[in-house]
Amino acid sequence: MAFKVPRSVVVIDFEFIATTGERPIPVCMVAHELRSGQHWRLWQGQFGPAPPYPTGPDVLVVAFYASAEFGCYRALGWPMPSCILDLYIEFRNLTNGRRPPCGVGLVGALAYYGLDTIGAAEKDAMRELVMGGGPWSEAERTAILDYCESDVCALERLLPVMLPQIDIPRALLRGRYMAAAAVMEFNGTPIDVPTLQMLREQWTGIQDVLIAAVDRDYGVFDGRTFKADRFERFLQHQNTPWARLESGRLDLGDGTFRQASKSYPIIAPLRELRSALSDLRLNDLAVGQDGRNRTILSAFRSKTGRNQPSNSKYIFGPAVWLRSLIKPPQDHGIAYVDWSQQEFGIAAALSGDINMQSAYQSGDPYLTFAKQAHAVPADATKATHGPQRELFKQCVLGVQYGMTAGALALRIGQPAIVARNLLQAYGETYRKFRVWSDAAVDTAMLTGSLNTVFGWRVHVGESANPRSLRNFPMQANGAEMLRLACCLGIERGIEICAPVHDAVLICAPLDRLEADIGGMRAAMTKAAGIVLNGFELHTDATVIRYPDRYSDPRGRMMWNQVMSLISRHREAQKPAA
């Protein structure tokens, strides 16, 4: 893209009230236009229908973590700018994989470049003053505006120092996403608030009966205590393999339970229960007065550039059964639209491995892989060769995460030699991919970094993890794809409520739902084509219309169990007639 020198460069910062689950309420804003030297200081009530400074495609807006600023834009009804430079994102990109000595916040970035910083303590005090919600005295208003302006001044100092290191055209693409992220945060995900309220009230009371109900099939709890020896006996009885620690004891980490749940569905309810008992903080789920789950998406927070919202505040955190709280508002529907086998498709496209590409395009890459490896006949189907397909599926999924033969053997419940043979078949069938994947790690180790098609970069830090580096092109280009799809979807006017790894949740009035699903799928197809240089990824959509609720199959049993117990518990609490 030919990037023209902008007519105007505006550095902005807002102070706003951000109550849990609620939309931001702008308190004040300061903007400096760098060419003319003009300054604006606006307080609540002075904002107007559009920014007071120049706007348009040839105006560059500079901010630090811009989705916060553009959440305020959205709250004010201001049109979003099209050229956004987010110095937070660019600082993340310049230091991703390293540990800047003072963190990645504004103070951290200033300190990194040896520039003056404002004291962190002062920031906290001022934030508290803003978050207090007012009313503010004249002196406090001035102090808040001065504080807001001090951040703008800090950005002015930071911009010229960072600018030579920034790849501007691609930085603008990242900035574009921050506008989309702001809109998604503003939209939020519709929640069944009465049921959430009921769950919050009853959760403590039903825990013992819930444990008893789930444990009926396992016999591994003693009261509220999970007993490892009983679990070991259960595993022996079920003939289920399980990972062990070096000490020889069972690995009872959640990651192990999560992996095991995928291979052995019988483990899933137990994992959900354990997770609910240890991690569930229902009161942390951020739901606003309008019944929407809303929290900061923490865009670009992970090394791969994926969003990293708070697990406890975001409805798409790890407790999948809680996702049944998602329910479209009256006369609305929601759709969960995802790319099928996104990571396999990315690997196929970017590596240029023809076998892998044809496996993806077949619609069933797992069975096609088995056919390509001559493990099943050419006319095999999921029905005729289900178990073999499952083995090859687990191999594909395992390879994506750099799984070793030992770990794959545990996952498939087969001797290590079966796992080794599967991994060998993968390497031989997708030889070009293997060479490309090795070259990715070599590139990272030789040059000190890896980047995506649009320049999101990870640096090889002190403790390089070859497995993460190997996986980076799939994960990080997947993140690029999702960001681009979100931009395209939002710009088409689709109400995207939440980005979820390789999917989005959208909401629309029933009479527009189908059209918006089509629009979203088109946006996702287009995004995939752009990232993968023309290679097309398939999408799937799960549609839920009011009064139905969203349901993740992995958590359905747990949800039904909890709801049934709450119902009985409430009945029991009713006074006798």
């Binding site: 979003m80 001559h374 649009f454 710009e491």
Partner: protein, 194 residues
């Protein structure tokens, strides 16, 4: 406060041609790394491994060799000293072979001596090597048979990834310190009880 989402679609799109922004993901092109072959074992196939033999005649040749059975080491004898070591030397064909794990090795197969006599072990090994040029084979010693028993893989296995190095380079790596080019060589001294 506004409730209607502002449509960005009305704004001129500065990202109209994203293809121009794509960076290459061809890592082998941007930063090539070549695996170096630094070890080439000289041995016959293990009894459990499936192997292939390079079908190109340029990847095999006959050599006079001395087999130190106690040390399980094979030495090549230079032509300059071959006549002096005629009684200790045996002729062998060195085939370039590879197993399913991608390990390249040189497979020595005995040729008949000056008397032209052949035995079943040598003959069956040579037959196995010839078969391995077109299919994956396994070779196991059968004492009761007095020869190697040859099995072929019945499944469809991929063709082996042969190295780019020419045969003489493979030989150099395999025999870098195992060429007898003078009668002062320690192997000669040992064979002569010196």
């Amino acid at each position: 406060m506004a409730t209607e989402a502002p449509r960005l679609v009305e704004i001129a799109d500065p990202f109209a041609n994203l293809d121009n922004l794509r960076l290459s993901q061809d890592f082998s092109e941007t930063c090539g790394v070549k695996k170096l072959l630094t070890t080439v074992p000289v041995r016959k196939p293990h009894k459990q491994e499936f192997v292939r033999v390079h079908p190109d005649p340029g990847y095999r040749d006959n050599f006079p060799a001395i087999d130190l059975k106690d040390d399980r080491e094979l030495y090549i004898v230079a032509r300059t000293v071959q006549a002096e070591l005629a009684t200790e030397c045996v002729p062998a064909t060195l085939f370039t072979a590879i197993n399913r794990q991608g390990v390249i090795f040189l497979w020595p197969v005995r040729l008949p001596g000056p008397d032209g006599k052949q035995n079943e072990w040598w003959r069956s090994a040579a037959e196995a090597a010839a078969l391995a040029m077109t299919q994956w084979i396994r070779m196991q010693a059968k004492m009761e048979l007095g020869a190697y028993e040859i099995s072929t893989a019945t499944g469809t296995l991929p063709e082996p990834p042969w190295p780019d190095l020419p045969f003489n380079e493979l030989l150099k790596i395999a025999f870098r310190d195992r060429v007898i080019s003078s009668l002062d060589h320690p192997v000669v001294a040992r064979l002569r009880g010196l």
